[in-house]
Amino acid sequence: MNKTQQFNQLLNLADNALIIGHRCSEWCGHGPVLEQDIAISNIALDYIGQARNFYQAAATLINEDPEMLTGFVLPATEDSLAYLRDQREFRNHLITELPNGDWAVTTLRIFLFSAYQYFLYTQLKDSGDLSVNAIAEKALKEVTYHVKWSADWVIRLGDGTEESNRRIRHAVDHLWAYTGELFLQESELQQQWLQKVQLVFEEAGLVIPEKTWMHQGGTSGNHTEHLGFILAEMQFLQRAYPGSQW
């Protein structure tokens, strides 16, 4: 992997964590049960922490070699990367930016995505790339909990009441088409992920949808309409008061 690819990978990891963290943070103060409000805020906090670490690594990389890519505010920082890029430059997967929907969509999204992160970080922590080893190792501990927490909810909702079962099935139908983008090539990662999903779905009484159309575009900067609104809100102060310290 050359430096540009490495940089893009770091941005993808960081943007994913930031955007799904943003979505989780929207629940803060509005959760269905106080304990779960705390849990999902905690997950949001973990994600923001992961994003910061990956952005810092990306910033170091580009600051060392400013000629590498054009169009970035230099010297880059975690905040310049998060706050001063527009949606076409974001590299997150589409699944992270979709609106929260209800608790079924929210917890299923976290499950599908964090299970992906779990296997990805497991690979990254032992990869040759020193800039991500330590970050992935630390994040893996957090993600392990996210997978467990969200899988528990998927199972509870699947095997709960008629209404919760209907809602989680609807969530599967809605989100599944955004999972293909996580695995653009057939890979071991995808197999591991599928196995995990299969296991949890079985316990929840859910069925993996038949092969279906898969949306893609996030990693090349072709996003849904939702990302623009996230960024408008998130970047407002940095854009309205440029160059200020906060």
């Binding site: 103060g29 959760g31 705390i38 805020s41 910061r52 809100e233 200020s244």
Partner: protein, 314 residues
């Protein structure tokens, strides 16, 4: 002659012996505590909303993480306090019902809007600052579970106050626009903050009994004065001003004098006419009502699971 239960109880209070949930207590003591602790718990939960507004708009990732952690702490405080109140024989659901129906109150400060980022700084500095002033004496409250919950709450609140002050200090060293954003926020929050100590002593009907029972240790006016004295000094460090032309040091009293508080506004907000009363309550009710099916699913699942486990065991 044998002492009555009430005299025995008061004697324990006078000797600073903590009252625990299983101890005998006058019904009015129990009711006063339920009212006060649940009101306090509700304030933590409602208090998440005005600050939560700014999590998605925080101006840096560091600020975002700190604010998120802070608002999450408030949820934790709500949890400790609801648990403390439950030891008195009321359930969390009953307390929610009282909040949602408007029978239970919460701190009226949270009925004011957070309009700019500087408001997050000011809430930490003034609102949490006033809360700490109120709450530190509660760590010695006569009721054990309440006192112990307050010890944990106060530790975290002092971190909240520092982060608020630090936001303002950063703004004070920033651009002209940032400085005026901060001054404007201070102007809007100052009077509501000093109203947080409650009505004047001679208009605070529950105070005398609460002091006798050592639920409360200082009067509203004493705490208010203490807060004003401290804050009038801190604002100088920030290089901002407090919006009270009558605020001045009174050497003879050894305290700051301050201008007249608009008590009409205070009572109006308590009666539901503050800028955000409806929104705050609606947001809580919405979260609760929309969470109904989630709670039902969780409990149905637990029931099924227990049943299955019993079958397996048999």
């Amino acid at each position: 002659m044998e002492k009555t239960s009430e005299a025995f109880f008061q004697d324990k209070i006078d000797r600073e012996i903590r009252i625990e949930p299983k101890d005998w207590m006058p019904e009015k003591y129990r009711q006063t505590l339920i009212r006060q602790i649940s009101q306090h718990a509700h304030s933590e939960i409602i208090g998440m909303l005005p600050e939560g507004n700014w999590i998605t708009r925080a101006p840096s990732l560091r600020r975002k993480a700190i604010l998120l952690a802070k608002v999450q702490d408030e949820a934790g405080h709500g949890l400790y306090l609801y648990s403390a109140a439950e030891t008195l024989g009321i359930s969390r659901d009953e307390m929610y019902e009282q909040l949602h129906s408007g029978r239970a109150k919460y701190s009226s400060i949270f009925n004011y809007p957070t309009l700019s980022w500087a408001d997050i700084g000011v809430i930490g500095w003034l609102v949490d600052g006033a809360a700490i002033m109120n709450q530190v004496p509660l760590c010695r409250s006569s009721f054990g579970p309440y006192a112990r919950a307050m010890v944990r709450v106060c530790k975290e609140e002092s971190f909240h106050q520092r982060q608020g002050f630090e936001i303002l200090l950063t703004l004070s060293r920033g651009t002209e626009a940032q400085r005026s954003m901060a001054q404007d926020a201070i102007n809007r929050w100052w009077w509501p903050s000093i109203m947080m100590f409650g009505p004047k002593d001679d208009e605070s009907p529950n105070s005398v009994q609460s002091m006798k029972w050592k639920i409360k240790r200082f009067s509203n006016d004493e705490l208010r004065q203490k807060f004003i004295d401290v804050t009038a000094e801190q604002v100088k460090v920030l290089g901002f001003t407090l919006p009270d032309p009558n605020l001045k040091w009174n050497k003879a009293r050894g305290h700051y004098d301050y201008g007249a508080i608009n008590w009409d506004e205070f009572w109006q907000v308590i009666q539901g006419n503050g800028p955000c009363n409806k929104e705050r309550l609606e947001a809580r009710k919405k979260a609760w009502e929309e969470g109904e099916w989630v709670r039902a699913a969780a409990s149905a699942y637990t029931t099924k699971k227990n049943k299955r486990n019993t079958t397996v065991a048999a």
